[in-house]
Subunit: 298 residues, 2 copies
């Protein structure tokens, strides 16, 4: 039985939210995700990555979760004589630590079509037009392609589904509409990244968007105490959607996810908002329950 040998590296999708903008840590002026060798010294992958991130940035990583392992060929970064296995992780960094320093880029820079907080992005019209011609270009697969485009971009009656970020990127890739796909597409469909790093980022976004709905991980992105509106804006930033304010409060409070600190904040020029803190005991009590998203159609 032959044993496969391979180079192993770790790739991190480190997310923080500052100024209502979800940001991801990058290197090379925003062209790549931070990555490093898989050191043999560490007992576990997680501990290794945690230490390594701590060294590189000075941000402690709160939540850390394995994303996906990429080992396909055609990844543009194979080393002759072996294949590279990239194990990617999603990490959440507290807002204050990961503030607007260099290296942190808003993730909608890479996926402009994913931010629906100001309504449907205009770029979607162009995307759909280009997807249409791509679909029509192959008569055999035409119908299937149209249905797939309609579904992933919410034109099939189901409406926009923020969880499909990865599927959308993959569709655009297949259609040759992102410049990573090789065929020199105009790069106006979001900023490109090195190798398949944008796909990895899309994987992280999709995973995080899905996760916040059934697991209280948002709090890893928040400061110790916060107002409910601040919490809402953070979730909205991640989901790329706006939420119904009153229902959002109802949802959060009825789940006992937070408790009042007693203090208030009167920054934004209205009635002062109560400050809350996360009830860390719920992490033990109910790992599930989580935060559903009360949408708003504004």
């Amino acid at each position: 039985m032959t044993i496969g040998f391979a180079h192993a590296e770790l790739i991190a999708v480190l997310v923080a939210v500052t100024g209502d903008e979800p940001r991801v840590m990058t290197i090379r002026s925003g062209n790549a995700l931070p990555s490093g060798p898989f050191e043999m010294g560490h007992r576990t992958l997680q501990s290794g990555l945690r230490e390594w991130v701590q060294e590189q940035t000075e941000h402690p990583v709160g939540y850390l979760e394995q994303l996906y392992t990429f080992a396909d060929r055609d990844r543009n970064n194979d080393i002759p004589g072996g294949r590279t296995i990239s194990i990617s992780y999603l990490g959440l960094v507290n807002e204050q630590s990961g503030a607007g320093r260099p290296g942190w880029h808003g993730w909608y820079e890479y996926f402009p079509w994913e931010d629906h907080r100001q309504g449907r992005p205009v770029v979607l019209d162009e995307i759909m037009a280009r997807l249409r011609s791509w679909a029509d270009a192959d008569p055999a697969r035409r119908d299937h392609r149209h249905r797939r485009a309609d579904f992933t971009f919410g034109l099939d009656g189901g409406g926009w589904n923020e969880d499909l970020a990865l599927q959308r990127y993959e569709l655009l890739y297949e259609a040759g509409l992102v410049s990573e796909a090789g065929c020199g597409a105009e790069a106006n469909l979001g900023r490109a990244m090195f190798a398949d790093h944008r796909r990895i980022l899309a994987t992280g976004i999709a995973r995080l968007r899905a996760k916040i709905k059934y697991r209280p991980v948002v709090f890893e992105l928040m400061p110790e105490s916060f107002t409910l509106l601040r919490l809402q804006r953070t979730i909205e930033a991640l989901a790329g959607l706006t939420l119904h304010k009153q229902n959002f409060r109802r949802l959060i409070e009825q789940q006992d996810l937070v408790e009042e600190t007693g203090g208030t904040e009167s920054e934004t020029g209205g009635r002062p908002a109560k400050l809350f803190r996360f009830r860390y005991t719920v992490l033990e009590e109910r790992a599930l329950a989580g935060t559903k998203l009360p949408l708003s159609r504004n």
Copy 2:
């Protein structure tokens, strides 16, 4: 920058359901999951695994999804001079192909506490008793351990949650109640497996149980045409729960997941059941929507 080198292998959790029993393909008389080298020849991991499974067994794999990559030390199968990276996959095999041949073991053989179809398994009493003494053994962490045990095993008012299969196994492992944990525990808490294969299986079970609720993957386990009861029994087998029959039908039908074939089956000696087939177009139409589980407290 140093580059980590490692051995790479693939481990497969191949699942089929026959006779209302979820089964997993094993080697070594049920002691290990099938695994093989990561061949460099294949373009993608998936295609490599698909081919390899096809060779080993004669079952075509329908649905295939990456599970998790294990690379921690202490995995009992490291090779001197390097670490083994195991990339695990979950694969679903059609009922007929993967029938009761040798090598397929019912997965509740390994996790007897996970099957609640005949009511709460009695072994849970012993498990809870042992978890209690484990919790009490460390006064500092006592409360935390009790809460964790109560939550994962559904004693905190939230009730049994079938999705927590992995958390339950990990808790038992931590508590030293499964023989893989080293401390020669009596192996009556389910059959043990080689190295960390039982943990990988638990990962697969948990993933599948969660997945069937929001993605129509069950059909990969079904024959071409089937009755609604057969579909229900399959889902019940996977979830380890019984479902409310009428509500199950309502759920399936209102989602247009299936269509009548026109035929009927009159095997079980009652009113003949209509035969249905899966509407494959929904895979394009709505990758989500999925099958929620209408529970029944019988």
